[in-house]
Amino acid sequence: MRRRTLLASAAASAAILPGRARAANEIKIGMPMALSGPGALYGQPITKGAEMCVAEINAAGGLLGRKLILLPRDSKGNADESVRVSRELILKDNVDFIVGSFTSAESPAVSTIAKENKVLMVAPTAKTIQLTSPANLHPYIFRTASTTDIEGRTAATLMAKWDVKRVATIAPDYAYGRDIMEAFSVLLKKLKPGVEIVDQQWPKLGQADFAPFITAQMSKQPDAVFGAVFAGDFASLVKQAKPLGYFDKIGNRYIGAGETGSIEMTRSLGTDYPVGIVANTYDPVIWPDAPEVHKKFTAAIKTHLKDDYGSSWAIMGYAGVQALAAGIKKAATIDADKVSKAMIGLTFETPIGPQIIRGKDQSANRGQFWGKLVRTAAHPFPVFEKVEYTDPTPFMD
């Protein structure tokens, strides 16, 4: 008797209808993105940025005479969930393209799915070099994010300018942290042969107690530190390191990767932020020398997010859709193979100016904004003293 349950459940699952058939006047873009879990901190504004770009394109009459439709799905920041929603988007919702997947773990996984289903995918935030390494490259994967190589190497050039001998590092203990440290130290040693890496700390991702790492690192008496601890972990690190005199002891010669100079970070830490350190961000947001297009974008995203300051992350989703849209426009079709061909060597507009997708690794030349954070009278939180955009081209190989 009770085994009837099974039949009932099977019948219930059969009731889920597969997606509507593809409409001729639409272009569907699936967006698997971390909307819950720790990654939601980024995933939400990234999705909002993509949303805004889609809305703008549609307001201007769409693309190839068709309306863009964005279908965001929560990937929960998990690789297998990312794969699941991507397949669902492809098989059930019949999306034509994918812009998304957030982490460096999710993106290569979704890339496999894109390749298998011949659906073109743009990865807007994945930094891992593995994503577009020769072994993993295929016609359906494009990247508009910066990479760990670019991030680590540009940091190394900054470090090389300082008069330091003893350098320490601290990074989360997983692929991102180790890749970026590798890129950093190799270039640093080349640029500044006399330098010595005196200490490397590897707190786990999600570490909340930094005191042991801080005291251990301080005991090696570094002159400067390169850190890749990010998000909430960075905030915890700072809050615990400051009263231990960590930043004072190295004279604030700390270079913080992982978007630790983002406006989200400076705003949340407020007066606790260790001013004087150098950090990076995807979008400086408060940027006096910004090009006109960026000012327009910032104004629009503030309205879209209903936030006085906007977000440093929205630009990544926005630019990802821009790249795809430019590719479709150039190909004048939504055929994935043709769009793929069109996107190689493509120049597309972004809020920080035009970028180029090179053929070699199908990645845009997305650089890094680095700058020193200082306190000003104009804002209740630290801002960049002078932010500089580093062109990544010399660091991409």
Partner: protein, 293 residues
């Protein structure tokens, strides 16, 4: 130099330990009496941090308002604990242990999302109150004033608990409950009131510890599960239901992390689980625990 360094590393481990003990103490208490590992304890802790931040935001101009905010957060979570216990949890007493465990896990899921709806996904931060802003030097190692305050408070809570457990009738009942459930009935205790009381006190401690870590840790979604796993482990390695065991477990964990990373730089991710595996293999009931009936 070397001695100074070892001492400062020890202090770091102690700081880690005391913060963890604050969270784990409430968990240990509830387990001792109700025999349930309360997954939602970590969520109460997270909500305590959010409540402290919220109160601070309302009290914007004064940073010393932190003390008030911490108290308000702890009280708020105690009330939440009261509501949860009275309205829902007590209906599961006497049911299978697994169902009680799942109930607390359901709370984790629901309250976690509720926090996300209320406070968003961004990280929040609370500043240290100026009165404990400075740091002092102890044997050449720097000890931040705030950490010292929390350490003193942690020890005070431990001693306070010990006094309550040993000297009061409520304490006797709690000890009896932890040791022998049948004895509890024969003591003529009003078991319902005891359970509610213990749950409320434990919630208060969770809220308080959440508020107290907010000046040194970021408030982010997900901090609840991060802490609950560690707190669970500290309670388990100490011996379930043993209050001093929890204290000892936290102290050991702090030092194992602190010195472990010196020997194995990539030890952090393993630390707590490796410690638990070793202790449970050697002492199946934890350090100071006794077999469960």
């Amino acid at each position: 130099m070397a001695a100074e360094f070892l001492f400062s590393q020890f202090l770091s481990g102690l700081t880690t330990a005391i913060f963890l003990f604050l969270v784990a103490s409430g968990l240990s208490l509830v387990f001792g009496v109700l025999r349930v590992l309360n997954f939602a304890h970590g969520t109460f802790y997270m909500l305590g941090a959010y409540l402290a931040w919220q109160t601070m935001a309302w009290l914007a101009p004064t940073k010393e308002g932190f003390w008030l905010a911490a108290l308000a957060a702890a009280t708020g979570i105690a009330i939440l604990g009261f509501v949860v216990e009275r309205l829902m949890f007590r209906h599961l007493y006497g049911k299978e242990e697994l169902y009680q465990l799942l109930f607390t896990y359901a709370l984790v899921l629901i309250l976690g999302d509720a926090a996300k709806i209320l406070w968003g996904t961004g990280q929040l931060s609370v500043s240290r109150p100026p009165s404990v802003e400075g740091s002092l030097s102890v044997f050449g190692a720097l000890l931040p004033g705030y950490n010292l305050f929390v350490m003193v408070l942690g020890f005070a809570i431990a001693i306070g608990f010990w006094v309550i457990l040993q000297r009061t009738s409520a304490g006797r009942m709690i000890r009896a409950a932890a040791m022998d459930r049948e004895m509890l009935g024969s003591l003529g205790a009003n078991v319902g009131v005891l359970y509610t009381g213990v749950f409320v006190v434990s919630s208060f401690l969770a809220g308080l510890s959440g508020a107290l870590v907010s000046p040194i840790k970021a408030i982010v979604p997900g901090m609840d599960v991060e802490i609950i796993v560690e707190a669970f482990i500290v309670v388990v390695i100490g011996g379930l239901g043993s209050f001093w065991g929890t204290f000892l477990g936290a102290l050991i964990y702090g030092q194992v992390l602190s010195f472990g990373i010196l020997i194995f730089p990539r030890f952090s991710i393993f630390s707590v689980f490796a410690l638990m595996a070793v202790i449970l293999i050697v002492r199946p009931w934890g350090l100071l625990g006794r077999p469960l009936k």
